[in-house]
Amino acid sequence: MLHIEDFSKTYPGGKRAVDGLSLHVPAGAIFGFIGHNGAGKTTTLRAAAGVMDFSQGTISIDGHDIQKEPIAAKRVTAFLPDNPDLYDFLTGIRYLTFIADLYEIPGGERKARIARYADAFRLTGNLGSPIGSYSHGMKQKLALISALIRAPRLLILDEPFVGLDPEASHLLKEFLSELCQAGGAVFFSTHVLEVAERLCHRIAIIQNGKLVKEGPTAELVGDSTLEDVFLGLGGEGR
């Protein structure tokens, strides 16, 4: 579903955020991407989502190169940044309608999808209010709903559990599993290693812009825990 080949990103000023990263997120998989702060996770996710320009390597989604065929690649993708800032001047429902328009979701279908996810996240009653009046958690839920109503083939999430209440976190995990069962894929970063260990089919660990470990969760963790594996890497590559 997502193929990242030899991806590198150097920021103006010379900082090399990611160095020769290659990854493959297969259809039907929840893929966890973990690493220290500044390791290069967000840079990779943003590049994969087509939000950030890059010059080295290739990234393709469902067979579409994100740089050569950005529209086709983005049409099957939904991305959620770590701190999703949404248009404060729109109401929740106007924002969802805006996103539905951009993704050309048919009128009847969009109502059903919005109703399903908004009800699940208990946000329907708030959809008439301006986003500026939402709490951080409500914004996070709205952003998730806006991602899920697109029925994406690939969901790219940067720290999706931050700010969510326990019920919403549980729901999100269910929706992610559902998406994968339907043949989609999820690529997400997290610092909550317990969640990654329980939820992900595959895990990649990035340090200082380089991939240091990648594989099926069970294989990677073995008899230990993901936390032990991660901490065991220590300063390797940093």
Binding site: R75, F98, K111, G125, G128, S129
Partner: protein, 536 residues
Amino acid sequence: MRGLRQFRALLSVQLKAALSVGTGIGRRSRKKTFSGISVMAVMAGLCAYLSGLYSFLFASALAPAGQLAVLFLIMPVLAVVLGTFFTLFAAQGVVFGGRDNDLVLALPVSPFVLMLARSAALYLENLLTTAFILLPAGGVFLWYGGEGGAGLALRLLAGTAVLAVLPTVLALAGGFVLAWLTSRLRSRSGLTMVCYGLFFALIFAMAFRLNALIADLVEHAAGLRQGFAGWGIPFLLMQDWVCGGAWSGLLGLIGIAALPFLGAVWGFGGRYKAIVTGLTARGARSDYKLERVSAGSVRRALLAKEAGRFFHSPMYLFNAGIGLIFLVAAGVASVVFRARLAGTISLLAAAGVELPLTPLLTGMVCLMLGTAAITSSSISLEGKYLWILKEAPVPVGWIFGAKVLFQLLLALPCGAVCLAGTGFALALPPAELLLAFGVCAAFAGAAAVLGLLVNLCFPKLDASNDAVVVKQSAASFIGSFGGMLLAVALGGLWYLLRGPAGSAGALALCGGVCALLALIALWLLGTVGKRKFLAL
């Protein structure tokens, strides 16, 4: 000592936040330095230009009557009005509505020091405005033989430093009222617009009153001081100090300006946390029922989003759209006062002055269209929301197209209203009006596309509020003043071509130049602009 250090650190941050322009705070770049300096330079230049223009105008009339000192009665009024105007919305947005409130209020700093630092940042902005209005006025005063020499210059400097406190106090009070009103309104976008509209109407009324005063200034110059009794005491004191060296004037001015300033800072500072918490606390309603969900095309959605941003931000609307409001007002006023307008034109014609009415009208409409810096702020206003557009499966050209089209959808009807109203009042031939509209449309197209290009070259994506983007970013300055300069340049071109090509021919050629410029700008937008957008 610790309080002083905290104050200096906070003031520095507030000033940097207000003046920094670029794509990332803390990153050193030549572009950022240039942008920050350019914003200050343009502000100073605008004030110096207005001051120079009016000072020479007043002084040339007042000097022969021996009433040159009146200059120091009128120019301080201009300084205070402009200073208040420049900082009122900044006071509302930065002092009472700062998005960094949670961060700053959590610091171990007393609310008084925080309030003082934010107010001092406003004061420094006002000092710039006041200095670049009063110092050129002082130069003109001496140029026309005013007495005082170096002593006057020193007194003027001291007076300027004190007078700049006055617009700061007015801006703080007005900013608080606006912030309070905004926080209390249920339908804030509509009613906030009304508040801003009233404010501008007040400014216009004052400007008209000042113009009326200028008309018979010399005749009433001697009795002008009586007119300032009461409301204008600070200006009388300023004149006494600058022209007469009266220490009582300076001390009185300090008392009138500085004491209310400290009082306001102390008053607001004492309850600062409660005030900003009360002003920003808003709760989302929970009674919405999902019934009908509308659906539209991608282009319509992008356009509606641009409209939503424009009409929900009074700062954006009244700063970037003020020229368009003027156009509609001028068109309506021309129809209402058409007899007076026609009378003035007839009087001029009788005196042998044949005005080229259609080119003049076209030039004025273009000048106003040039001030409409909507696209030149639109990329910066995406700011932290830019990821939404970049993530969407939408060609960059459509995003640009929606921004340009939105500006044109506003500019063209407003220009048409002005042309139609004024054309009707002046009984201009329809064919000439049609030509004028063509030129204005081409100009509006060029201005919209060039504005977007300017914003892509000078983006400010890290602004804490709309005020910083719309009022203080390099792109909005270049967009509005560049548009006005383009209109002036077209006027010059028409003047040069009117001989060989004839008035209408020259006008058509100007329209052709605008259309060509728009096409070149469109090509640049599709190449350079697209690259810059992807790199943001």
